[in-house]
């Protein structure tokens, strides 16, 4: 029977080819949106690894020229600022950092281990950072005075990164193995400080619920060390006591200003930053989704029209079949069957094409796509397109069954 349908489709190949192209493109559009949705849903189900309850960030800008002398001076000023903050009764903990959660900024680095290139996000923090964000430490320990004067650079990394580097071996206390850099690079000949893993956190997804799951590492920035050549953390994060209101911002700013006259301070609640970040993820996705919905609605109406038109054109053929004893269900099945075959042909090509995407050497954006989310998006898209085309054919196919053989045969 399918072979018969194929022949009928072939007989009207030019018109049907155009319909198949339409189904093909519709699938690509739907798949694009579904992929984003599936990836978001996948990401959303994973924990963040921190809590932002009662956490505020203060962006500090020393407005100074970036040279060694002013850096040392600024680091000292920041140390005093943090002490001032900790002395306030409303503040439970205060720390310095570079890239706080939902802060829009990111800092990435990479290690090459046994020829394997691994990207990771970095954050440099002071020791109190863990208390501010209630970072979910799983094994080992967090930064502390113990790390003062350490010859290696202490590192706290997330479980995913630990697994990527060390596999099943316990990473605590180990140095991250790094391949020597190619000699061509212009860096100073002195070897980079080895990085030693001292703790493992479950996760730290600084860009929030919808962001991809990536490798993460914390480095320690010790403001007490006056000889350090590290930059000054440009964000201060504080955890305030529950019930502290925005009214506290003003006296706090005045006190900070008293310590550092020339500096600028910008206070934000991480909760508000979260809302903004989620919006940035969701608004483009919702816009794309809305446009895709309209496109599909348009395709659905168009297909209905086309199938309807086809049915009215094939009155004589259908009439003849009815006269030769075909039942109503047969006609109905034939119209829908032809549509299903065309949809299948278009989808086979489309899915075969889309399935190649992960195999292509594409930019990093595509590397973030999770396999199961990708598969799920394809399945959902395929089912939706089948539903769409069959749904569009349903009413016109019903119309076809109403054709009376006697009338149809002396049509015209």
């Amino acid at each position: 029977m399918i072979r018969h349908w194929m022949r009928l489709i072939w007989n009207r190949k030019r018109a049907n080819f155009l319909i198949m192209i339409e189904i093909f493109i519709s699938f690509l559009v739907l798949e694009g949106v579904m992929l984003i949705a599936a990836q978001y849903a996948y990401n959303y189900r994973h924990p963040l690894g921190f809590s932002i309850e009662n956490v505020w960030t203060i962006t500090v800008d020393p407005k100074s020229h970036d040279d060694d002398a002013s850096r040392t001076r600024d680091r000292e000023t920041l140390r005093q600022l943090l002490r001032t903050l900790r002395d306030m009764p409303e503040v439970e903990a205060a720390a310095g950092t570079f890239t706080p959660p939902y802060g829009h900024s990111s800092w990435t680095s990479a290690v090459t281990t046994n020829g394997r290139w691994m990207d990771y996000s970095v954050n440099q923090v002071t020791d109190d950072f863990r208390d501010v964000f209630s970072v979910d430490l799983r094994r080992g320990r967090w930064f502390s005075r113990e790390d003062d004067g350490a010859t290696d650079q202490p590192l706290v990394i997330n479980e995913r990164f630990a697994r990527a580097i060390f596999g099943d071996v316990d990473p605590i206390g180990r140095i991250i193995p790094q391949d020597p850099k190619p000699p061509s690079s212009d860096e100073p000949s002195g070897k980079a400080t080895p990085m030693r893993v001292i703790g493992i956190v479950s996760e730290f997804r600084q860009h929030g619920e919808f962001s991809t799951l990536d490798n993460y590492a914390f480095r320690r920035n010790n403001l007490d060390d006056a000889t350090s050549k590290m930059g000054m953390p440009n964000r201060v994060v504080i955890k305030v006591r529950p019930g502290t209101t925005a009214a506290f911002e003003e006296p706090m700013t005045h006190q900070l200003q008293a310590v550092a006259h020339d500096w600028s301070f910008e206070i934000k609640r991480v909760e508000d930053m979260r809302t903004d970040t989620l919006k940035e993820f969701l608004i483009p996705a919702i816009m794309l989704g809305t446009i895709a919905c309209f496109l599909l609605l348009m395709v659905a109406l168009g297909l209905t029209g086309v199938v309807w038109q086809n049915v009215t054109q094939r009155v004589r053929e259908i009439g003849l079949r009815r006269a030769k004893g075909a039942r109503i269900e047969d006609i109905h099945r034939q119209i829908l069957g032809e549509l299903a075959v065309m949809t299948s042909l278009a989808l086979i090509i489309a899915v075969a094409l889309v399935a190649q995407v992960p195999l292509l050497p594409l930019p990093a954006v595509f590397a973030m796509i999770n396999g199961s989310a990708f598969a799920a998006s394809i399945v959902i898209s395929v089912l939706t397109i089948y539903g769409l085309t069959i749904g569009c054919g349903w009413y016109p196919a019903r119309l076809a069954t109403r054709i009376q053989p006697a009338e149809a045969l002396h049509y015209e």
Partner: protein, 415 residues
């Protein structure tokens, strides 16, 4: 002739209303999306107050320095612009101003965040702001580092409610400014004029900015006439070749072109060449055209399908016309005109829908201080897109129709 085509087209449209509805739905939706996007671009880049002398202005809003191993892109520093951008031939006025920074103020314990822009005095001479109260600060005010401020209408509302603001004081980022003028709100997407509060750049907390080649400053030049624009771009470029770099081992070359806002934005595209001082705008244009065509593809095929499936409806008409000697080309012309008429009707509906969509965007406050609306420019773009869409979706079905065999067509049968 055309009149006849249009008459026939209307008859056909009214014949099967369900099909006309489907076609118009697709066309008007497609054109709505395209027109909303166009209106947004026009709002961002088109000439609009206070940039009334748009045709004669160029700005440096992007700077990049690079060497063999490194590249640093941001905005230019004050030193670069102050030392090298002044005194270019053909420039009537030059303004140097900072990119806006977010500052906090507290009003009765409530926090207010504002965008604060530090500018010089000529900023107010090049840009024609609408003053609701008072006036701008002068170059002398800037030289003497007077703590004066111009604020926008929204900021006046936040600080002073409905009462006049001139002469009163506002506190921002720990500094106190006396308000000298109030201007109408400027949309956040207009990168050159936008701010909530404008103050003299000499009121900055420290003067380290004066020593920086890279930083957060922009320059805006008002040319004597349009013919001088190319010259300004080239002369500044030539001067940049002799910039004294702070760290010539790492960064050897400086790129900071005088160009339009559109060209500056185009530099942030992934396919733009940031190291080139020449305009990258055409890359943005071509990217947008390709995206628009891709977006039109599905609706166009949808419309083609509908039209192809309706060929038979017209078979007797086509048969008669062919039998009386109409050439295929004449018929193709007729059907394309019909389709373009249909897309233009869809475009009109789309125009109404996009105005509604734009008002929704305005009301949603998604873009701060935006007054998105349709204007003659957007309308012309919309018309152009409707024509392209009409051609795209009309030619193939018209060709198919014109190829009907007259004998079969008269009989009203075909495959």
């Amino acid at each position: 002739m055309l009149k006849n085509y249009i008459k026939i087209a209307f008859k056909v449209l009214l014949r099967r209303k369900f099909f006309t509805f489907i076609s118009l739905f697709g066309i008007s939706f497609t054109l709505t999306v395209l027109m909303v996007v166009t209106a947004f671009f026009d709002h961002t880049f088109g000439p609009m107050a206070p940039e009334t002398q748009y045709q004669r202005t160029l700005a440096v809003q992007f700077a990049c320095m690079y060497g063999d191993d490194g590249m640093w892109t941001s905005s230019a520093g004050y030193k670069l612009l102050d030392r090298y951008a002044r005194g270019l031939t053909g420039v009537d006025r030059l303004s140097i101003f900072a990119s806006p920074e977010t500052v906090s103020s507290y009003i009765n314990g409530q926090k207010v965040s504002s965008s604060l822009k530090r500018t010089d005095g000529d900023f107010w001479n090049i840009l024609q702001f609408t003053f609701l109260e008072g006036g701008p600060y002068s170059s002398q005010d800037v030289d003497q580092a007077q703590f004066v401020a111009v604020i926008n209408d929204a900021t006046r509302q936040r600080f002073f409610g409905t009462s006049p603001a001139v002469g009163k004081t506002i506190e921002a980022d720990g500094q106190r400014f006396r308000v000298v003028g109030v201007v109408a709100d400027v949309s956040v997407v207009r990168s050159i004029p936008f701010a909530d509060v404008w103050v003299p750049l000499t009121t900055a907390k420290t003067d380290t900015y004066k020593r920086e080649l890279m930083g957060s400053f922009n320059a805006l030049a008002l040319a004597h006439d349009e013919a001088a624009l190319d010259h300004i771009h080239d002369e500044f470029n030539a001067r940049l070749a002799h910039v004294e770099m702070d760290n010539p081992k790492v960064y050897k070359t400086m790129v900071a072109p005088f160009e339009t806002t559109f060209d500056s934005y185009a530099r942030h595209l992934p396919n733009a060449d940031r190291k080139s001082p020449e305009s990258q705008g055409w890359k943005m244009v071509s990217t947008l055209v390709v995206l628009a065509l891709l977006f039109m593809l599905l609706p166009a095929i949808n419309l083609m399908n509908l039209n192809v499936s309706r060929i038979l409806e017209r078979s007797s008409e086509i048969g008669v016309r062919k039998a009386f000697g109409a050439s295929s080309r004449t018929l193709v012309g007729q059907f394309v005109v019909e389709n373009i008429l249909l897309t233009l009707i869809g475009g009109l509906i789309g125009l109404v829908l996009s105005e509604i969509a734009l008002q929704v965007v305005n009301a949603s406050n998604l873009i701060e201080y935006a007054h998105l609306h349709l204007n003659p420019r957007v309308f012309l773009y919309g018309l152009g897109m409707a024509l392209i869409f009409g051609m795209l979706s009309g030619v193939y079905p018209a060709w198919r129709m014109s190829r009907l065999n007259p004998v079969e067509a008269l009989k009203g049968a075909t495959r």
